[in-house]
């Protein structure tokens, strides 16, 4: 049995906010794939839970009237993989969802939980960084929007205050329309593993040049990070073999991986350089040969 001290089922986001405020030591439980394991291992701070598992209002993927894509925090990785809207508009997020755990975990784990955990290895984080995703957070004082890069305050620390519930990720059209991205995960196994390094690239091309370029990593620092120096160096450059050499050289200046039992720092640096090139290459392939595009159509 799980060593729960208190358990409340919230029937709505509003109720969850009130329950969080009334139970100062409580936390939210969504997919349970991290929290229930921590609870089982007897980690402190997880014995008082407010259950938002399966709340319908948190589980949707849709486009609003302003063409923003909204992904509910309770959306599972399987929902993301199977979403026609995301497959069409932001396949990079489907790549990332596909790389998480195994089928059972993807069926349960939510994108909101993945981000609220605050870990640097979250597979959905690099893509959301590259998309400048805005986190819609409902709290006792109403709704606020926080850019994902500002949400991470440190390892395991995120900008959630007492009574806050992350409800959705908002991706505005200027951050995904016409962009092509790819998420590349390197781990010891192809499944059920934590990323040694994860790399997301999102880019636009125009007239054989890179007209927009975002690159973000997981596990390349204490939190997921964007790489401003690399982005600056790549922007406006011609598509060529030298471009990849440039990326591999500059990216080292943007990252700060550490040695852990999973991998040594030098090894991670090597993987960072390689993934930066490969993810860029894959994103370019998607840009130059978009799936389902009619013959003769230009980008």
């Amino acid at each position: 049995m799980f060593d729960l001290q208190t358990y409340h089922k919230a029937g709505s986001v509003e109720e969850a906010i009130a329950l969080l405020a009334a139970n100062p030591d409580s936390r939210l439980l969504a997919g349970g794939t991290d929290i229930l394991i921590k609870l089982r291992h007897g980690k402190s701070g997880f014995a008082e839970l407010i259950d938002i598992h399966g709340l319908a209002e948190l589980r949707s993927i849709r486009k609003d009237a302003e063409e923003n894509i909204l992904i509910g925090s309770g959306t599972t990785f399987t929902d993301i993989i199977e979403s026609k809207l995301l497959q069409r508009s932001i396949p990079m997020l489907c790549d990332a969802a596909q790389s998480v755990g195994g089928p059972q975990i993807r069926n349960m784990a939510t994108i909101g939980g993945n981000i609220c955990n605050g870990v640097t290895s979250a597979d959905s984080a690099p893509g959301l960084f590259g998309l400048n995703a805005l986190l819609q957070i409902h709290g006792p004082d109403g709704l606020r929007e926080v850019p994902v890069a500002e949400f991470y305050l440190g390892p395991g620390k995120v900008d959630l205050r007492r009574g806050d519930v992350l409800v959705a990720f908002k991706i505005t059209p200027e951050n995904y329309a016409g962009s092509f991205g790819y998420y590349y995960k390197y781990a010891m196994r192809d499944a059920m593993d934590i990323a040694t390094i994860g790399c997301a690239v999102s880019l636009k091309t125009a007239a054989s040049k890179v007209s927009d370029y975002r690159i973000a990593f997981g596990v390349a620092g204490p939190t997921p990070i964007r790489c401003p120096k690399t982005e600056q160096a790549v922007l406006g450059r011609e598509l060529s073999a030298e471009l990849f050499d440039c990326i591999a050289e500059v990216v080292i200046g943007d990252v700060n991986p550490r040695t852990s039992w999973r991998a040594a720092k030098d090894f991670r640096l090597n993987i960072i350089q390689e993934l930066a090139k490969r993810a860029t290459h894959k994103a370019l392939q998607r840009a130059l040969h978009p799936a389902g595009q009619k013959e003769g159509e230009t980008i």
């Binding site: 729960l4 358990y7 794939t33 394991i37 089928p103 059972q104 069926n107 349960m108």
Partner: protein, 162 residues
């Protein structure tokens, strides 16, 4: 144990292998504990207990989950399928039959979980062209310590044939 419940217990309604059940359960229980301890359905196994091995896999509303990291209260209003419900009228399910024919069982401990993972995979991909790689990926959440993967793969391939 406090909360909006009756001394840490709560009533749920669900169906287990097609049979409607009304259960008064301890909210601290996992679905695995509900199945094994309260309902005596010991076909579903506990391996790692942390969602790594898949021995406890069951279907909840046709979704494959690790029952060890799934709260029992979450099945309220839902339909659960476990390995005990797969054979009908003394006949094995097509997936179970394929496992037997391909010798996909060694010690058998992982088998109930694998059967449910394969059942979920086969029902999702019926009539589709499926690669060996897709089958492996679809079973990545289940571990077999005897490493009988090759025959499991063959059994799934066989089950997918109309």
């Amino acid at each position: 144990m406090t909360g909006q419940n009756d001394n840490g217990f709560t009533r749920i309604q669900c169906t287990v292998n097609g049979v409607p059940r009304s259960l008064f359960i301890d909210v601290r229980k996992s679905l695995l504990e509900l199945l094994r301890q309260d309902l005596g359905l010991t076909g579903t196994k506990e391996g790692c207990g942390v969602g790594e091995c898949g021995a406890c896999s069951v279907l909840v509303d046709e979704v494959l989950v690790d029952s060890c990291i799934y709260l029992a209260v979450w099945v309220d209003g839902k339909a659960i399928r476990t390995v005990e419900g797969e054979a009908r009228d003394g006949r094995l399910s097509p997936v179970q039959q394929a496992y037997v024919e391909e010798g996909a069982v060694q010690c058998g401990f992982c088998t109930p979980g694998f059967i449910m993972a394969s059942t979920s995979f086969v029902e999702k991909h019926q009539g589709q062209e499926v690669s060996a790689d897709q089958i492996r990926k679809g079973h990545a959440g289940n571990l077999c310590r005897c490493t009988g993967y090759q025959n499991i793969l063959k059994a799934v391939e066989k089950s997918l044939k109309p």
